[in-house]
Amino acid sequence: MRYPIPRGLVGTVGRRPSLAVHAVDGVTLSVAPGELFAIVGESGCGKTTTAQAVLRMVEPVSGSIRFEGRELTGLGMRELRPFRRRMQVVYQDPYESLDPRLRVRDAVAEPLVIHGLGSKAEREARIRDALARAELSPPELFLDRYPHELSGGQRQRVAIAAALVLEPELLVADEPVSMLDVSVRAGVLRLLDGLRQSGLAILMITHDLSTAARFADRIAVMYLGRIVEEGTADDVVGNPQHPYTRALLSVVPRRDPRDRRRPEILRGETPDAIRIPSGCRFHPRCPVAIDVCPLEDPQLRRPRAGSSPQHRAACVLA
């Protein structure tokens, strides 16, 4: 979707703004129940904006977002409400996402209260159930605590419990573990994996390719507002077809010091979304760009040397 810059800020000629920040341009994706779909990319690629659009927290200028076949764009607040219940979000910062004045019990109860669900007794039961599913057991140990009495990992689990209490079908997880210590991350990721196995659809935003490779069923790589490659995790990580994906994978440090592959370090940084390069958006930094690349904007299609039937890449050479 695009954010038109309001007239007042840019000083346009005529009635339409001449500059717009194309934060997300032409993204199509789908997440099935029991699937963990990871969107990976660097800052400014549009991954967080995509997630926010899914939750209808930002308004797309065009395009469609369907939840179980039902179109969400264009719906008003009241019509959106029942859908909002069915998709929940967990954020990156366990120190900011919980209200410091609320005890765990009240933080997890809040979504139920907002949606007017259940009697007090029913809520108590659902809160306990959510805490148990977030692996905060026994619930008694946590119900009356304040966030500052919990570790980062525990706080993140409380945030997950609050997201689960409405029994959503889709969970959007924006960098769910990047602010947690390494030794704590796997526990939270395994929790999400377990929830996925019991039928929850998870859309995970992450910059960490290693985590996506291990936990995602499917991965989409974004660059400057577009998906440049997508497929199963094995497709994208094991058989990358887009030069950006290949470069990204090559520069991720490995645990084993003997793994001395030559990193393909791209020069410069991702350009501003306000000045998108012509043709293929990646061509100025692409190590294998050819003459047609500044002229033609490649579509996502099946690569010649792709793996699974779901594998797609947006590159004339793929």
């Binding site: 660097e42 800052s43 570790s151 210590d181 390494v182 030794s183 704590v184 991350r185 796997a186 526990g187 990721l189 395994r190 910059h207 960490d208 390719l209 290693s210 985590t211 490779a213 291990r214 995790a233 094995d234 990580v237 094991g238 470069a247 990204l248 994978l249 520069v251 991720v252 440090p253 490995r254 645990r255 084993d256 010091p257 003997r258 793994d259 990193p263 370090i265 791209l266 940084e269 991702t270």
Partner: protein, 320 residues
Amino acid sequence: MSALLEVQDLHVWFDLQEGGELHAVQGVSLTLDAGERLGLVGESGCGKTTTALAIMGLLPQTASAAGRVLVDGEDILEGGEASARPHRWVDLAIVFQGAMNALNPVRTIGSQIVEAIELHGRGRGGAARARTGELLESVGIPRGRASRFPHELSGGMRQRAAIAMALACDPKVLIADEPTTALDVMVQAQILELLDALCRDFGLALVLVTHDLPVVAQLCDRGAVMYAGEIVERASVDDLYHAPRHPYTRLLFAATPDLGDTHGEIASIPGAPPRLDRPLAGCPFFPRCDRAFERCMSARPLLRRLGDGRAAACHLNDAA
């Protein structure tokens, strides 16, 4: 020939508001030779940043320290600020965590480097500006950007500027505290490549303070793993990964996802590090260790030499 930097039995305590003390660093020793890259690895609260600040003589007022920090043979810890100051930035420099966001926003990056050069008597006026241009080029910033303000630069460029500033007076040792943590993976690769080149081409010795094991594996020769204020293992990065002699080292690697192993089990370590505001009995890792036995509960293991420049603080290494 004495080592460039030698830390001997460093202890740091912080006064706590509610009374008592936090024993943040508990007997850390390390050495660094010219051109060497040492990774100081650990998770939050392990004491690695405090160790770095102690080496620089930059501990806050609430801290007290014991032990020795030898720079070219001179103990700068004992002499306090008076002995630390002449060495700071000139022999030892630090790029603080988040330095790229701490650059003076109302001064151009060039003027900030010139100021550092002039303050330490390494040049004035035209000579300082020329040196600034060289420094910027050496960190990959075109010298014309000297007239830019920090907010006009990208995150990666700001981090390069912070590194240039730290190198203004030609130090022999650079301490970098989480230099790539806030950066995208491609920019991280650029910065690591830069640090690698600086060590190779200028003989700079590096202490890389980080929680990120793969970064240490890629850039460093040796690593010291810290837990609960002490070094629990010290070895070449190769040995740390292929033949760890401390369960925490092994588990930390096992908890780190890796592109080279996308279907393997990722470990998590239950529990949390011990509080450091009370004395510890036994091994600090005991409650979370998967190989602990009876001795571990009552006797604190010392960091013992295992030969080949290796050391580990674990009873499993004791002779039968």
